[in-house]
């Protein structure tokens, strides 16, 4: 390992993708979370804020959404509307993850 550290320097800054669920109130505050505490809180907060914004935009467009799933290349985010807030599920996607429809 010493040799590798000499060659590549300090280890690369790779953040693990979040896995678990969070509950957010209507103000965007995370009420409960099962995501590892090692995952940066400010990033979880950013996800929560954007999901609420997305649901809010849908309401403004006269098409309130009950559920939304965002499929990124490496992460799936599923959110259900919860009395103004939301419950958000985060699933990292791997080659072995089941295909979703």
């Amino acid at each position: 390992m010493g040799l590798l550290e000499k060659i590549f320097g300090s280890r690369a800054a790779v953040t693990q993708l979040p896995s678990g669920s969070i509950t957010v109130d209507r103000a965007g505050k995370i009420v409960s979370s099962t995501v590892s505490s090692a995952y940066p809180a400010h990033l979880l907060q950013a996800v929560a804020k954007e999901v609420l914004a997305l649901l809010r935009e849908a309401r403004a467009a006269q098409m309130p959404l009950a559920e939304v799933s965002i499929h990124f290349a490496s992460l799936r985010i599923t959110a259900r509307e919860l009395r103004g807030g939301a419950i958000i599920f985060l699933f990292p996607q791997t080659a072995l993850s089941p295909a979703s429809d």
Binding site: L17, A58, L65, A66, V68, S69, H71, S74
Partner: protein, 358 residues
């Protein structure tokens, strides 16, 4: 309103007629809607006025819809016809199409597909730019006259275009006389050749008709073609474009219908063109398009924040429908499906999107 089309709706159910009238008032071209509760009454109305489209039920007392359509096809060959029936029997559908109807719709399918139905009707109402003479597809009047002369036939060609009627006398393969819009002879012939669409029928020859045209028919056709080319050179491009746009719309509507989706909206990035709508009303589409743009921006911020990679797709559901947002290189596609649309929607949507601009 000189260009206002007239639609005649024939159904023995007075309540349905009232409902139809309400639905058809949503057509963008705002046609005049007339109704009839019996085949006899409808035929009398068609005799008395000029209609563009007949929407006909099949199951009716006394004269049924198929009988009406058979008569209409013979007497009013220019009239567009649509069957709107509650009969889900495939046999009726085949028989109606065999009678030359332009479209067959089930009343039971109307509720979920009203917008598509209206778009199809609007397309039928505006289809007189397509050209060609009914009965012989894609053949111009020049082709028809040449065929008559080459076969050395003797007949009278009666050509109808809306309320205009013209006649061409052909004797032993030679054009001997023409009559149209108050003109006679070569002038009438040139006028007839400017008609781009219509219907024609062969009447028995009149060998005793006085000859007014002595020039060979090919010389006349050549002269007329040159005159038409010279006068219409500027208009040709516009007309071609209109036909292309129309074809693309029909192609997209058929994709939508085959897949069973409710609507498709394509949304280019802000400031790079307007959204395109197929299957839903303009006002709703505007809301959806705006939502799609804002959502795409939100998702991009979210993806960048957590390093989740590019967006593959988004699916969403509310009490009315399911939505799929598919990002593509130069625009986003929002596809709407009913809640009963079943499974495999992602694959169906992807397939439709891939074919959309082909």
């Amino acid at each position: 309103m000189e260009n206002q089309h007239k639609i005649l709706v024939l159904d023995d159910d007075a309540d349905w007629l009232e409902l139809s009238r309400e639905m058809l008032t949503q057509l963008p071209s705002k046609p005049e809607i007339r109704t009839a509760t019996s085949g006899k009454r409808a035929l009398a109305m068609l005799d008395g006025e000029s209609f563009r489209l007949l929407i006909c039920d099949l199951k009716m007392p006394r004269i049924d819809g198929l009988q009406v359509l058979a008569i209409v096809r013979r007497r009013f060959p220019e009239l567009r016809t649509v069957v709107l029936s509650a009969l889900e029997d495939e046999d009726f559908r085949s028989r109606a199409y065999a009678l030359g109807v332009d479209m067959f719709w089930l009343k039971t399918e109307m509720q979920g597909n009203l917008q598509m139905y209206l778009e199809c009707l609007e397309s039928l109402l505006g289809r007189d730019q397509d050209g060609g003479f009914r009965g012989i597809q894609s053949k111009s009047l020049m082709d028809i006259i040449q065929m008559e002369c080459l076969t050395r036939s003797s007949s009278v060609l009666r050509i109808t275009r809306g309320s205009l009627v013209a006649r061409l006398w052909i004797q032993g393969g030679e054009l001997t006389d023409a009559e149209a819009e108050g003109a006679r002879g070569e002038a009438a012939f040139r006028r007839i050749l400017t008609w781009k669409s219509g219907t024609f029928e062969n009447l028995p020859a009149e060998p005793n008709r006085k000859r007014t045209i002595v020039k060979p028919v090919n010389a006349l056709l050549l002269e007329s073609a040159q005159a038409i080319d010279e006068s219409g050179a500027g208009a040709a491009d516009t007309s071609d474009q209109t036909v292309q746009v129309h074809r693309r719309t029909v192609w997209k509507l058929s994709l939508l219908t085959r897949a069973g989706a409710e609507f498709v909206i394509t949304v280019p990035p802000e400031g790079q063109g307007v959204h395109e709508v197929m299957g839903t009303q303009a006002q709703t589409a505007e809301q959806y398009a705006n939502w799609t743009r804002r959502t795409a921006a939100i998702i991009k911020r979210m993806g960048d924040a957590v390093d989740a990679g590019p967006l593959l797709h988004l699916d969403a559901k509310n009490q009315e429908r399911q939505l799929l947002l598919l990002p593509r290189e130069n625009k986003d596609f929002l596809v709407g499906w009913s809640l009963e649309a079943g499974e495999g929607l992602l694959e169906k949507s992807k397939k439709m999107v891939e074919q959309w601009d082909s």
